[in-house]
Amino acid sequence: METLGRKTAIVGVAESDIGRVPHKSKFQLSAEASRLALDDAGLSIKDVDGLFTIISTQGGEHSSMLMAEYMGIRPRFTDSTSMGGSSFVAYVEHAAAAINAGMCEVALICHGSTNISDRGGRAGPVSSKTEVYGPMQFEDPYGISIASSYALAAQRHMHEYGTTSEQLAEIAVATRKWASLNPKALMRAPITIEDVLNSRMVSSPLHVLDCCLVTDAGGAVVLTSMERARDLKKAPVAVLGTGESHTHRMISQMPDYTQTAAAISGRLAFERAGVSHKDIDVAEIYDSFTITVLLTLESLGFCKKGEGGPFVSGQRTAPGGDFPMNTQGGALSYTHPGMFGIFTLIEAVRQLRGECGPRQVKDAELALCNGTGGVLSSTGTVILGRV
C-alpha cells in the first residue's frame, strides 16, 4: 500500500492552561493553545489555511466556523468531523490528505473544553434532560452513563479471558508514575494497586481510579508539508501512517465488547507506515478508562486478544518498563477535558523531539498515538517518526 511517504509533518504542539480554569472560556483555551502551538512552529495565525476542530458539548455547534471566526481566520479547508475524543487523531489523517492534495498548506488542529468548570465536579450528573429523541431512547431510560458503557465491556472481557481488576489497576498505577515526572500533571501522588481496588466503585468492575479525570484544557497541533517543515523553528516530526474507523455509536450496538475499531485503524496505520509493532518506542493510548487501554493494546495487535491483562502486568508500561506508554500521565492522571485525543499527539511529538526531561523515553524514534471516541465507538491511529 502507498505510504504517506513522510510528505507531511507536525511542526508545532502546545497545551493551554489546564486543570481548573474557571476564568477562561473553552474558546479562549483553544485559541491560546493554538497561538502557543504556532509559536512552537515559528508560524503565525496568518499562515493557517486549514482548520480542524470540534468543541465539546454546549455551544459547540458548527465548531470550525465558530473557532475560525473567534481567531479571525478564513480557511480554505475546514473540518469538524465529530467522532468524540478520537477526532483530533483522525484530523491528522484528514490534514495530511488535504496538504498532500494541495488543498491547504498549514493545518491547525485545536480543541478547548471547560468540562470541570461547566459541571461543578467529577461526580456531578451528566445530564438533566428528560425527553429523549432518537436512538438514545433505547439506552438513556436505563440509566446508562459513559462509565457504565465502558464497564459493560470490562465485565465481558473479564468473563471471556479471566482479566482481573488487579491487571486493570496496573495501568492506573503505571500511568500515575509517569504523571509524577510531569510538572503539568494534575494527579502526581503515587498510588498502589490496592489504592485502585479500594477506591470507590463507580460502575462495576470500574473503580474511580480506573476512570479518567475531568478537567478544563485546550490543546493544539500544527501540520504542514515536509518541504515547508524543514525551514521552520524545530525539527519536524513526520506523519508516517494513519488510520481511522468506527464500529457503532451506542454501547448496546457494539459488535464485540472485547475489541475496538483500533483493530481497523491500527492495521491501516501500520500498513501505511511500513513499520511493525516492535519498532514502536513510545505509545500514547487514550486512557479514558483502564479498560480502554487494555482493549486498545489488544485491538492494535501489541498482544493477542485476551492477553492484555498479562501484557500490562508487572508495571510494564511504567517508567523503566519495556513498553513506555502514556508518558505525560494520560487522561487518568495528567488532564482530561472530555476529548483527550489531541494530547496523545502533543506528548508523542515532544517525546520524539527529546523535550521531555525526566520522563524522556531514551532515543525515541517512533511513536504511536491512538484516540478512542464515543463509547469505545471510534478510533484514530497515527504513527509518527523522528526525521
Binding site: 461526580a123 450528573p125 451528566v126 445530564s127 438533566s128 434532560k129 428528560t130 425527553e131 429523549v132 429523541y133 432518537g134 436512538p135 431512547q137 433505547f138 439506552e139 438513556d140 431510560p141 436505563y142 440509566g143 446508562i144 452513563s145 462509565a147 457504565s148 464497564a151 459493560l152 465491556a153 470490562a154 465485565q155 465481558r156 468473563h159 470507590r200 466503585m201 463507580v202 460502575s203 462495576s204 468492575p205 470500574l206 454501547i251 448496546s252 450496538q253 465488547y257
Partner: protein, 136 residues
C-alpha cells in the same frame, strides 16, 4: 414539597412509535427484514444489514440471557438517585436480537453473565412502558 425527580423519557418518533405502542400493551416487539431475514434492534426505518425497507414487526418471547452487565453506583441523572445501586445489562433475546435494559427484582449481587432472564414491564409515565428484565 420538592417535585418528584423525573427520569429520561423516550419520545416516540417515526421509527419507534410501533415499539412503544406495543410496550404499552406489555408486548416486546422487534423488527425482522423481509429481504435478508435478519432481526434488528433498535427499530429503524431500514434494515441495518441490507438497507432494505421491507421490515416486519414480530413479538418476542421476552426470554433471553445476560451478555454483559454492570452495577452502577452513580446516578447519571437525578431520577436514578433513589435506586442506587442498579443493574444495566445487555440482553440477548432468544430470537437473535440484543438490547440494553435493567435487571430488576433481584439483589444486584446475584447477576451473572449468561444468567437466564425474562421481560417485565415497568410503567415509566402514563404514556410510556419500559421493558426490563428479571431472573427467569
Amino acid at each position: 414539597m420538592a417535585e418528584k425527580r423525573s427520569k429520561p423519557v423516550p419520545r416516540p418518533y417515526q421509527d419507534t412509535k410501533a415499539y412503544w405502542d406495543a410496550a404499552k400493551e406489555k408486548r416486546l416487539i422487534f423488527q425482522r427484514c423481509l429481504d435478508c431475514s435478519k432481526p434488528q434492534f433498535y427499530p429503524r426505518g431500514v434494515c441495518s444489514h441490507c438497507l432494505g425497507s421491507r421490515l416486519e414487526w414480530l413479538d418476542s418471547s421476552g426470554r433471553g440471557k445476560v451478555h454483559t452487565f454492570t452495577v452502577s453506583y452513580r446516578a447519571p441523572h437525578p431520577g436514578f438517585a433513589d435506586e442506587l445501586p442498579f443493574v444495566i445489562a445487555i440482553v440477548d433475546l432468544e430470537e437473535g436480537f440484543r438490547m440494553m435494559s435493567n435487571i430488576v427484582g433481584c439483589d444486584p449481587g446475584i447477576v451473572r453473565i449468561d444468567m437466564p432472564v425474562k421481560v417485565v414491564f415497568e410503567q415509566l409515565t402514563p404514556d410510556i412502558v419500559l421493558p426490563k428484565f428479571s431472573p427467569a
